[in-house]
Symmetry: C2
């Protein structure tokens, strides 16, 4: 008998459903839409590789744990595309309810520990959370540049909207990355038929 | 100009291809085969949640980094199903060549750091690597129990083969998990038509 392990496996089995949550963004080769589980893996790799491009001191071990957990709430709440015009307040309420349900599957100590990390990520105040939030915004533009515009084309997004929705959070947590990314995005918007270099 | 960041983004873009590497195992709901990127995310969650079930002292931060990187070589080498009867020596050579190519996309210091972690995982000697290897073997049996046998049925696997191929590595790195898992697998093999509890 190991009721702690029973609870842990129940949580891990429920987490499998994140593989069936589709995002608006596509793979770099454009072949299909990305799911939130593989996206979570990819942005953890982004964080590990790009930690030294952060302007502030970040604890990469805490950032990786935040990113590992950050999208689990989408199992209940789904993904809200950033350019899709949905209601962020309604989405935030759904995600809070999802966090209540999902983390409660775990033993109490882990429920509290994981929830605290998720709350810190959502609050977006600490340097670790700001970097994690920035990294979460960097991957889709890189994919869009590679696959002909992706979600920018799907949602008819302007450069001014991108500066606001993507540029602001990236600049807050990882300004060096926005400095690298913005001219490439600008070039795409100015000459969308020219392949990105 | 930021040639270090250019190299880092080139590596991260190449890594996107792991989302298109299919494994033999299926999602818990049996709906489709799993890819190696979402699998990597899931076993990192397994490691974080189950670290306290390890019998030896493990550094979970190092384990997470190993698991984040461990399957990247499958971009070139593909996944070798554990029950598929392929040639492990040939696969190991392909994976070494893949590690040479992929990690070399990174700046030298990160190439060496990541390669050292991957080599440690592959060598399976350190407590962190043994735990990571064990965790990598735990997830598929949990899925198979949920979806009617999965790869055990596909490859007509016996309990004795499972004890060897799955039980041995799990017992080496996380014996408590095999103690939990084995009776459930045994029950499935004894009465395959009875849903797992």
């Amino acid at each position: 008998m190991n009721p702690r392990l029973d609870a842990q496996i129940a949580f891990l089995s429920e987490a499998d459903k994140l593989k069936s949550v589709l995002r608006a963004s596509r793979l770099l080769d454009g072949s299909r839409r990305e799911n939130s589980a593989e996206h979570s893996w990819h942005i953890m790799l982004y964080a590990l590789v790009l930690a030294d491009q952060s302007d502030s001191q970040v604890n990469i071990d805490r950032v990786l744990k935040m990113l590992l957990l950050h999208d689990l709430v989408e199992i209940d709440a789904g993904d809200l595309p950033i350019h899709g015009g949905g209601d962020p307040a309604k989405q935030a309420a759904s995600e809070q309810a999802a966090a209540d349900r999902l983390f409660a599957l775990l033993p109490d100590d882990q429920c509290q520990e994981f929830r605290a990390l998720w709350d810190e990520f959502e609050a977006a105040h600490s340097p670790d959370a700001l970097f994690a939030k920035a990294i979460d915004r960097v991957q889709t533009p890189v994919a869009n540049l590679a696959n002909g515009g992706g979600t920018w084309v799907d949602y008819n997004v302007s450069m001014a909207q991108l500066d606001q929705r993507v540029g602001v959070p990236i600049k807050r947590g990882a300004p060096t990355l926005w400095k690298w990314l913005r001219p490439r995005i600008k070039q795409f918007f100015d000459t969308p038929d020219t392949p990105a270099s």
